[in-house]
Symmetry: D2
Subunit: 340 residues, 4 copies
């Protein structure tokens, strides 16, 4: 933490801050600039906040210089962490492709879609069983039945499955049926849920909250890592901005930023933010070009009849085409598409 | 729902949409403009989304014309709904003031603060027992112990108490100890929690999510109302924007907008978004002037030693001063401060 | 400027930064924390940017500790600056009310409106002659004719007039006809225009850009102040956020923030951001309660026929009512409405 | 325009709207839904705004169904428009690369950088002569001298040059020296400047404003197109959001959205939003993968000594590497890099 005093700060005002620091076990290092004094605080400052000091008389500003996350920080763990899912390892030189319907609607539809996407190279089957919906009147998912279909379909094709969890009480179901547990954007700061999932021995796919800064996102990952679950995959899925022509603004710059700040792998979901399938494909390609470790896309064999988000689901043939394109793009970065 | 076709949409393209609508039980009303055809869809369109139609060939745009929330809409319930808490009724002609520390730190500190704020006119005592914290290393609250102190202090002064809930499993504790259950901003779209609280017979204080539109906020309220809990109080607490000089941007315009769209009462929390006590006071006054039914402010008798958010907590004397000011402002709107 | 090194920064990496600083005439003050070294840079750092140092190897972060604006900063000018307009002084204990139509449409309409608002207490008549319009097909204003009508009407009622300038070439017209020159939100960073207006001897009303931070806003004011024009009035008029129910989000918290950071007076325009007259009134009241030095509101005697922004224009009777309310609210802050 | 009435709108309220429309020369088409009446308005509604109708009694909502831009709309001009610059054509199957220093600092530095980037394949040399700077104390550019150096360097290498204009009075200089005139983000809604440049016979590079919606951006392009200048190239350069780890959020989804809504070519500037060179490269690749017609990147041979934005400037060797990567990525989309 750094405290910047006002040009005209008095001795008494500085003494007040100094006494506070000393009384709470911190040391400090004053540095007198041309106009202002600056104090560097020494000690474990993770529990101090800049805002706290900003209201002291004579203080002009305060900054945090240490990241509040440590286990997820590249500064302390320079090497990429890798998460193994089925035959795929995320975080290395391979691109992982997760695909499937927005919601699991029936066993047959999941099987029909899975058959095609596995043929075209998908590494993980995705499908929602518990759906977070803004309105209470929307389709809320098949629940456990959906999870069972995912398990059976995954086993049939020898492919791991991922699905979103919404409640702590559902953890045993996810432990039983699901390979990768997804925390959705709306629950990124559901700290009660994070604390429980920190103790689960499954990879966690942690989506970015729609208004979460990258720092907050890594702090949520730290909730998992601090309790022991290190198998974390981040997933960028768009942030809320003023632009209305897409549902969310896909912030692809989070990919290189995360790669710089953290050792965790990161994938990108272009389907939810773009909202329309013709816009999903270019952004899926762009995600790979930006350096993402993979993508998660929605595919539906009959999107006109989908019970949720049909407009953003690719046709299987579009998915096939996309796989060809990202293979070339991955090559430009010296990467390959993982085998399934 | 309204569907707007492109100027050059073909008969086949229109027929595709028409057939879809008919097959799914909707009627439609075509209207040919100078350049474009517009179809009004007739039927219960709450389950249709504009995005779904936007990807049909020949379609230029689609709009929802019906609000997706009904029980919380003023269109269907023109009169203000009122929520009784202790001796106060929120939603009528009275201003309700909720005050207290950010976190309950000990029984003594809660009592010391409560004694003063009750003297100055606070109607409800607030205090956090389970704290949502971005970092896992921050103080997480006293838990049940904090709720007990709240209950005891509320009883001592004959004043209701409000506290934030974070997990479904804590509902029995809140039912036992707390008068008004607060859903925090980070949980506004924790739908699992909303569904459970819909069945609880206590007033719910629903804070706006930091990136929630007013429509989403009312939809979350609808989760409560649709299952039967009508005792809902909304609370504006700032949204996330690009501006960095405050923690969040307090969107006071949500007050008159909510009053227009909904019959629910709304209060304002200026403490969290402003982050510094000298900025809290002007915005508390502004909230009342904008027409809010009340405010929720943090007060601490020793903010330098507060375990959380000390910088934004008012000194008791500032609170006393604020009460005087808002009394005059309430008068300008023909309102009074509720008695405690 | 403060430079924070990474925990594992090498001697060579530090030496690189040190050599750069020395070679460019800066001194520095190293401070070794528990994990990281922090350097305070001494000298005129206004031309250095944090981003420049962030890309040096071994550097973790860099912060500016000095504001880049000086003449507009309260740190260097603790007393409120006051701007005299007609009989009114903005920046002291008086509330100034600017009112009038969005666009000047004819001499008669301007006179009709002015007669009423002057009766109800308006201190300054506003009216657009050159209109910034998103679309080239919208009404662009009467031009010089509009300015002449403003001058004549102002003279008739003995009230100063304010209007928005859009081009450097129009400065002579504004110098001739207008008392307060308004720089609109879209031109807040039109630096060519700012540089020219810095040399004009008229008060400048500088609106905040719709995506301008408060720091950028004060830097734009500094363009005026650094060249000699100190008669600056800031005007908050809403920022762009994700919320769609209002045109812009009126950031009233900028009022106390500006009062803290700067000595310049600040008024609020609630008409443009709110877009609908029933929402304008509560926010006008809230602006005064937040501590603004005045408001600027649109009034039209026949808003159904207004050539621009009729929906947000108050009826004269609403304006009359508003004046009564803000008089009481100003009283709560120990202020009075300026006489006209 | 579509007007949606409230469920309980009265005959008188509807008649008021109907009379207004008829009196102003519009026809309308009523459509009675299950709960609400919807009126489609027929006629040239470009001068009507939804907000205007929203405040009529009995009206619940109003929507625009026609884009306010026509000449820039793909709906009316289905084929891509192409802009020829030197040997390159933007808007077809070729990728155009614009590169060079942020600011022209001297003739020698411009020549040194140009020699390298031309060797590696740059198609257009960029360089700032008039710099828009937030603070009046920052380096403001070499002015005309900089334009002359650009001209001389462009002629030497047989490559066109692009530079940003800031004032109408500089147009003759740009017509004399510069091949492509850039309108910067801060001037995207400087309508006075747009109107003048509409009459200039040079290609215009129109950058997106930092808080401009895509619709507003296309409306600004319409200012140029409506007066006759059809040689417009759009340039995405990031929007302002809450995320602080990058200077702006590069909204790459604007690329496919623009391709859908408009026939104009679009390039991407990843340098300004990313702010740090290591983040620029991934986003340059991503821009091509998203379907952009080109990129504009900053390159400096001695970024540590750059007078502006050195941190975001690529080293020439990085630029060389980037050219190789985007060649492969362009290939994945069936495109080639333009020859220089």
């Amino acid at each position: 933490m750094i405290i910047v005093f006002k040009p005209n700060a008095t001795k008494q005002q500085k003494a007040h801050v100094e006494n506070y620091l000393t009384a709470h076990g911190f040391d400090y290092h004053p540095s007198q600039g041309q106009e202002q004094a600056i104090y560097g605080i020494i000690g474990d400052t993770t529990k101090l906040t800049p805002e706290f000091f900003k209201v002291f008389d004579g203080v002009s500003d305060a900054f945090r210089v240490q990241e509040s996350y440590k286990r997820c920080s590249r500064a302390f763990h320079p090497l990429n962490s890798k998460v193994k899912i089925g035959n795929t390892t995320i975080g290395g030189n391979e691109i992982t492709v997760m695909a499937g319907p927005c919601s699991v609607e029936s066993k047959k539809m999941l099987d029909d879609i899975s058959k095609e996407i596995v043929t075209y190279g998908a590494n993980v089957i995705r499908g929602g069983a518990f759906k977070p919906r803004s309105s209470p009147y929307d389709f809320q998912g098949l629940g456990e039945e959906g999870l069972i279909y995912l398990r059976e379909t995954g086993d049939k094709y020898g492919i791991p499955v991922v699905s979103e969890i919404m409640a702590i009480s559902d953890i045993p179901l996810f432990e039983k049926y699901i390979d990768v547990i997804q925390i959705g954007a709306r629950n990124m700061q559901n700290f009660a849920l994070l604390k429980e999932l920190a103790n689960v021995d499954k990879p966690i796919l942690l989506k970015r909250g729609i208004s979460a800064t990258i720092e907050e996102w890594l702090n949520s990952a730290e909730y998992l890592a601090s309790k022991g679950n290190q198998k974390i995959i981040l997933c960028e899925r768009g942030i809320r901005t003023f632009e209305k022509s897409t549902r969310f603004t896909l912030d692809l710059s989070s990919v290189p930023v995360i790669k710089k700040k953290s050792h965790l792998p990161i994938i990108v979901d272009p389907s939810h933010p773009m909202g329309q399938r013709e816009l999903v494909i270019p952004m899926a390609r762009a995600a790979i070009a930006a350096g993402a470790d993979g993508i998660m896309v929605e595919v539906h064999n009959n999107p006109d009849e989908a019970l949720s988000d049909g407009a953003q689901s690719l046709y299987p043939k579009q998915f096939k085409e996309l796989m060809k394109e990202i293979k070339i793009i991955a090559g430009a970065l010296g990467k390959t598409i993982a085998k399934n």
